[in-house]
Symmetry: C2
Subunit: 656 residues, 2 copies
Amino acid sequence: MTEQALRLDEAELRGLLDGRWAHVREQARDVLRGELFAPVHGLSVEEHRARTLAQLEALAKSGLPTYGFPESVGGRGDVGASVVGFEMMVNDLSLMVKMGVQWGLFGGAISALGTERHHTEYLPDVMSLELPGCFAMTETGHGSDVQSLRTTATYDPGAEEFVVHTPDESARKDYIGNAARDGRMAVVFAQLNADGEEHGVHALMVPIRDGRGEPMPGVRIGDCGVKAGLNGVDNGRLEFDHVRVPRANLLNRYGDVAPDGTYSSPIESKNRRFFTMLGTLVRGRISVAGGSGTATKAALAIAVRYGDTRRQFGRPGTDGEPEREVRVLDYLAHQRKLLPALARTYALHFAQEELVTRLHDLSLSSEHDDRAQRELESRAAGLKAVATWHATRTIQMCREACGGAGYMAENRIPQLKADSDIFTTFEGDNTVLMQQLTKSLLTNFQDSFGDLDQLGLVRFMAGKVFETVIERTAAIPLIDRLVAAAPGRGEEAGLYNRGWQLELLEDREKHVVEGLAARLRRSGKDGNDAFETFNRAQDHVLTAGRAHMDRVVLEAFVAGIDRCGDTSTAKLLNRLCDLYVMSVVEEDRAWFLEHERLSTNRAKAVTQAVNDLCRGLRPYAVQLVDAFGLRDEWLSAPIALGAEHARQGDPAPGRG
Amino acid sequence: MTEQALRLDEAELRGLLDGRWAHVREQARDVLRGELFAPVHGLSVEEHRARTLAQLEALAKSGLPTYGFPESVGGRGDVGASVVGFEMMVNDLSLMVKMGVQWGLFGGAISALGTERHHTEYLPDVMSLELPGCFAMTETGHGSDVQSLRTTATYDPGAEEFVVHTPDESARKDYIGNAARDGRMAVVFAQLNADGEEHGVHALMVPIRDGRGEPMPGVRIGDCGVKAGLNGVDNGRLEFDHVRVPRANLLNRYGDVAPDGTYSSPIESKNRRFFTMLGTLVRGRISVAGGSGTATKAALAIAVRYGDTRRQFGRPGTDGEPEREVRVLDYLAHQRKLLPALARTYALHFAQEELVTRLHDLSLSSEHDDRAQRELESRAAGLKAVATWHATRTIQMCREACGGAGYMAENRIPQLKADSDIFTTFEGDNTVLMQQLTKSLLTNFQDSFGDLDQLGLVRFMAGKVFETVIERTAAIPLIDRLVAAAPGRGEEAGLYNRGWQLELLEDREKHVVEGLAARLRRSGKDGNDAFETFNRAQDHVLTAGRAHMDRVVLEAFVAGIDRCGDTSTAKLLNRLCDLYVMSVVEEDRAWFLEHERLSTNRAKAVTQAVNDLCRGLRPYAVQLVDAFGLRDEWLSAPIALGAEHARQGDPAPGRG
């Protein structure tokens, strides 16, 4: 890498990162100001809940929440904008999550699973927060396995009502946001029984509190109490004792019950119906991926600004005068803590933008494209998993990189860490999601997401001659060109040859997925127990998903840089992209060695490249985090806003 | 690995783990009972501080704190017991840390740096908690670099007093435990000036509050406020405005000032004196390593018990009846999250016991052994770093492995995570500690810990023909025998051949350390800037420390198993030890491939071995965590104490 200085065009970079929904980001920057939205710490649970609700009420008035709702009810029909709006709420992740519960999950379920009568009746009040609500899916006994939920909704044709019931503790709705304090209505997922038959999981509108805030008859509401973080969100538990709701309360887009109890659905297969219904809720998962990205950016912005001015030891051989002490970000070890994570954060940012664009465009498309929908769901599962794992790891590292200061609540990192910690679990446990992604890769999106169980999949594989087709996912002509120009598998290409890098990650993905397919096929043919077959390969399954995501994320990064209008800035982003690739390869270089994709010398050169790139990018680190456009008042950490800079006699960072 | 069932002798294993200071562990189990010591959550900061102080007062009456103090003042002169007592305080890590501040750091500094007059005057009140105190070392500007502290203590021969002063914000004492609320006295580390000369950092007794709890004249006390965790500890800031203390308040074991201002010390070199003084404080670091181990054990106990009964998905191909749902710990991915971490926790436990024994024996030895002391300090630095990193990573993983339940405060993991998070920073930043360890390896403990700066070290290396001598650290005859019996570097040995494993880790350490030495030597000869030379090799420096610790920890594990009196239990521990080694090798298998220590096939076999060992050990997982002997009331998590078991119809875990 050349060491020559590059000029970073800050406006260009900000514009590139803000992307298609820049106006929404600007709107959020404008709305989330002042005392009401300032990050706080040390509140009691009840104070924090009250504050979060007050923020939510102010948001309701800002118009931001209307983006995601149909124009027919006063919304703006802009799904992409709704996801981007959500991810900007980094001033307090409790607000982000409470917003997600009210408008994303609760409102989103009514939009996606209800029909016009539900839209008209409920959505205006959902948007205005007149009707605060819950998304009551997860139960104490089942969260990941939604198909096994145990709450029942039994149709009583005499009364033309559904009877919603919690048969046992396992069926209790658990961890439900908005339930403990504020929610008045819940979308309840339950096993539908009509006409004496089970029709699988459906959703119904169930009032849980009356106008005075008292629980409705037959509804028992519990409080989950203190959590590691997100204590501004009132998570609770719901139990139903034969609670009756009118027939019209069934969200009936994918399954309806006639007055006499006859069940009908546009989708015949019970299994496919279930996964179609779940699939419409994919936005929540994409939103969490985005939100975890912003939390990561905030932590990095704080740690990088601090590391840029914090000093500790003198340079050896000098007299130890304070002005000669080394800035901690000048240490290679410190750079290695923060800069590869920064590169990956950029990469994931572009992957997120790509995914939101797909979601948005698909929502506007007039014809239903089954395969595109399955790809979207798989990508959402994978990106949610890798983005939230990255957040957990990076924010943890930022805490350490800030030393004792990173442990002080006033410096925000503790709250970012504690709040985002559950992101790896909610909206789908990451380990489960990665397996769903891999299953889709194995079936090449031919079958619906999760539609095949392990046994089905093993049988499916057994009948196939399997070959992975690597389908490029972004900037396809450019990537085709880059790969075509790469010198091939040999050693000739420089490590920073983008075509070679792309091919390297494609090749790994193909090999890992095909190896897995062969393994399952062999085992399936031998008639082994499907569970054991799958279970013994579970680490392989997870590796396959990860390899796929590494490649997809790289493609998005390449596509993003291609949109950059300034040459010098693009050069810098290309170095950052090199750091992303080199750190991905370094982390998994054992695989590349085991499969003879890298020679031992070249593997060592990868480690050296990470070091070189860290050193080369270090001078730009502060500009690179500032380009995220997070307001100083959201960061709020004194160590990032001038306290340490003043002490060290450095110019203050930030932009007011 | 054979799959045959082994019988685990629970009493034998408990005895083995309890070790030399079993009676202290039993005493702690006996003392830490009932409502006063129960884990709590959701307290305000002030409530938590008050509760922690009340617990500390009860502890003071229990006699536990007297272990670490000299018999001359009513203590028991049992340093090992004091460390083991500290590490048992897992019922609330705030209590653990507050105990460490009062008796370990504050009392320990008076013991180690003071002379008889200080012992007699202060220690009885320190033990009884009549005199709550602070260890005021870290400053806002310098924590890791203690030599650069800026607080001054200037001797005034006219008044026969020291004037303690904080010249600027950078010199403010920061993060000081016991300062914000309870402390009355502080051991203050300051640059000593006497007779117009600087004598380096020394410690003095400085009263900070009067009998009514008001700050003493000239002392300004601040409050660090809310922290990520440990909010039962009142961390604060101290500033001194020309505060005068009598001459006798200098802790004068290593440096004294005569009435006329003449300075004298038994150690001539200022640098060596400084590092000798710091070295006497090594117990604090060893205690933190132990405490992080107990926090890790508690989190694993909760996650393993929960994973042993929690179910989610049905087995494929069955009808999905609840009783056929798979326990999550039966999934390979779940085993991989918890069981290698459990194996490493065992390994670190034995390494900790080994280290405490060394510390203890050295404290009793009549002659001073310089080299043994340096080795102890290096080992303490390394073990503190690897043990606390392991804690952070493992507790995080336990949170994820428990899903939403792991995010609920009632299930304890959130508090364990937040409290232990700072362990990687305090008592020495891990990254700094690992570098100190590696420096000692490079000088083969020939020079004092940290005594050489980077320039000195580069010069030192330049003059040497360097060869690492691997010195075995535990069960030496046994390990000599095992290594001698190993089939050598080839492929012939089974992966579970202990001699081969030992040699593999020894060989890696030797190669990494020698490679580093050669690199520094070359660069030093070329006359490169010492900082740049060191900085460019910083990742190599950290790798060397880690390779050393992996080997030392393995030796301790092997030695521990050798003490096991039951054959079947020992066999099981040997499997666990295999898992420790295989997961260490798996994590760094790129290195073994790059350096042709493993063939690609053998590297793949290592991954398979981890899987096999996980499956083989899974049936014993609950017994293995129960053997830690943590009281159920310390774990306190409903998910680990029967709530989930009752729901699933499984027998309740735990032992009352």
